[in-house]
């Protein structure tokens, strides 16, 4: 479940970005914060945001914090005395401890808690390390599928936008499937089936996939959405899923196209979702997995998107994204076929 973030200039001009949004609730997760100095900076940022957005609420979640419930209540009391009442009333402080939460407003139910769990996982150190690991794996796979040969650690760092220790740590974990060349370049020895299976299992979380359902009763076909996408001329969007897979492997065995999959490049936290409404005003984000999606958008967080240029201003998502899209759409046979196609090309 992807975080929804401030999109317009007003929000970014505040110099503050929360980590996610659930309906009308902005949420910032502060992992391992034990002092109120840091908390207060976030509280002030959230207060600015809420002052700008009268209909919204804000939640500051302290994850793995040593701050006690009593101190939290005292801080909330200070907040209420200091901020404008209409802002203070919409602001809440929450402590996450032992997979539970203290201070969540009563009206936010189980759906919210499930979403918050995912956001906390994503924003905590373990979550970020896991994401970096999978980012490195995806880049290695990208080079392997396209037969691009070995790469330097520096190139991986620049492609993902992360530090040397992060890449080195991820490479150590993947040592069993790596070839380390004498010039320190690395490449995959073979397709890393087990690591891939783990990535597929948690790709929703790793890629922050958002699904959009039709509300018009006249669902637009993926091709119709695609025609409108081309008109937008957005450099941060690329076509993946079945259509992208067919770009790489035109003989993919699948009749029709069930939905449009897009990869959205957003290395910063901020996500600009405005394009969805331009693709079709009938699209609405859905959290229900049993509801057919007309559009799925997968966030690509690495620094270099690895999109391939197409015709008419269109771009193609990289083959790893396309493979993950097929898995996510439960098109397992097609994902397998695409993987065999690339493997066959390498052979």
């Amino acid at each position: 479940m992807p975080p929804r973030l401030p999109t317009d200039r007003t929000k970014t001009d505040l110099g503050y970005e929360p980590d996610g949004r659930w309906r009308d609730v902005w949420v910032e997760v502060k992992p391992r914060t034990h002092s109120f100095r840091n908390v207060r900076a976030s509280l002030l940022g959230m207060a600015y945001l809420l002052a700008n957005e009268p209909g919204k609420r804000g939640l500051l979640v302290l994850a793995n914090s040593r701050i006690t419930e009593k101190r939290l209540k005292n801080e909330l009391h200070l907040v209420e005395r200091t901020l404008r009442p209409d802002v203070a009333q919409r602001l809440a402080l929450v402590i996450e401890k032992d997979h539970g939460y203290v201070g969540i407003p009563d009206d936010l139910g189980e759906d919210f808690r499930a979403w918050l769990d995912a956001l906390v996982r994503q924003e905590t150190r373990d979550g970020k390390l896991r994401q970096s690991h999978y980012a490195v794996l995806q880049v290695l796979l990208h080079q392997w599928l396209l037969g691009k040969g070995p790469m330097t650690t520096d190139w991986i760092m620049k492609t993902i936008g992360c530090s040397y220790p992060t890449v080195a740590s991820a490479l150590r974990r993947l040592d069993h499937v790596l070839i380390r060349h004498s010039d320190r370049r690395v490449e995959l020895r073979r397709f890393p089936s087990e690591d891939w299976a783990r990535l597929v299992a948690m790709s929703d979380e790793a890629r922050s996939t958002a699904r959009f359902a039709d509300r018009s009763g006249q669902k637009r076909s993926p091709e119709a959405l695609l025609r409108r996408l081309m008109r937008l001329e957005r450099a941060d969007l690329a076509v993946g899923g079945v259509i992208g897979a067919r770009h790489y492997h035109p003989d993919l065995d699948l009749a029709g196209t069930p939905r449009l999959d897009l990869s959205l490049h957003c290395p910063a936290k901020r996500v600009d979702w405005s394009f969805v409404e331009r693709l079709d005003p009938a699209l609405e984000k859905t959290e229900r997995r049993d509801e057919p999606a007309a559009l799925a958008v997968h966030l690509v967080r690495r620094k270099v998107p690895l999109f391939q240029p197409g015709e008419g201003g269109m771009q193609w998502a990289d083959p790893v994204e396309c493979l993950l899209d097929l898995h996510e759409a439960h098109l397992e046979a097609q994902a397998k076929e695409l993987l065999h196609f690339f493997s066959g090309k390498r052979a």
Partner: protein, 302 residues
Amino acid sequence: MNFLSPRDVLKQVAAALPEECRGSVIIIGSLAAGYYYFGDDPESQVRTKDVDCMISPHIKAVPAGRIVAESLLEADWRLREDSEWGEPGAASTPTEKLPLVRLHPPDTKEWFIELMVSPASPADSGKNFIRLETRRGHFSLCSFGFLSLVEEEPILTEFGIAIARPEMMALANLLHHPSIAPESMSGLIEGRSIKRSNKDLGRVLALAYLATGQYEDALRDWPALWATALQNRFPETWPSLCECAGAGLRQLLASEADMEEAGLTSAFGLLATYNLTPRMLRIAGLRLIQDAIEPLEAMARQ
């Protein structure tokens, strides 16, 4: 208002007209749209009471209108009962006091046809009346500012009379309502007084919905057709008309109360056999703005 089969009504109107003037008649309004979008489906019907017949072109309106009116009266079509407008006028009656030609067929009073005419010139932007002298007395033919647009490439039906193109009816309605005016319709719908703008712009939404149902990218074809029609009919002013075509619709979409009225009239009329939610109708409007109105505005700016 009653459920009517567009096909049956067109057939009956055409049969009552002399062959030589069938080519001068263009059916407009919900019946034309119904015939275009679901004329083949015996289950789909339109709920309406009036069948608008435009006599075209303007230059032939009076002679052709006379033949049409006299032929129908000869065939025992009756002037619609009306306490104020139920009798034809005389030569001495001022034109604006003459009744419109509103005739119902001999076998039913459930619906009636109304004869209309396109404006004499592009400068005639408002409502105008032309005297129509017949053997049965004097009537008037009514014209509206942008009605000439429905004369663009009308579609000839199997019955020898034509229907207006849906996209041209939509454009005429859009231009006729650059804002939501306070004036209400003369009659009630579901016992409620409804703003004329909301009814006509609601019709535009219904047409957009039906067009999309027929072909998902239909609305994307409209701006080019609209621009051509506007250039033909309003060569001096077409760019400014393109610019203001969406103003009323945007105002409608921004008002929940007006949208509710638009939805009510659509559900009660052209979309009577569809189960459309207010949200679906609203989406039809938003799609129309994106796919047709914004490109039309862009054409005017080029």
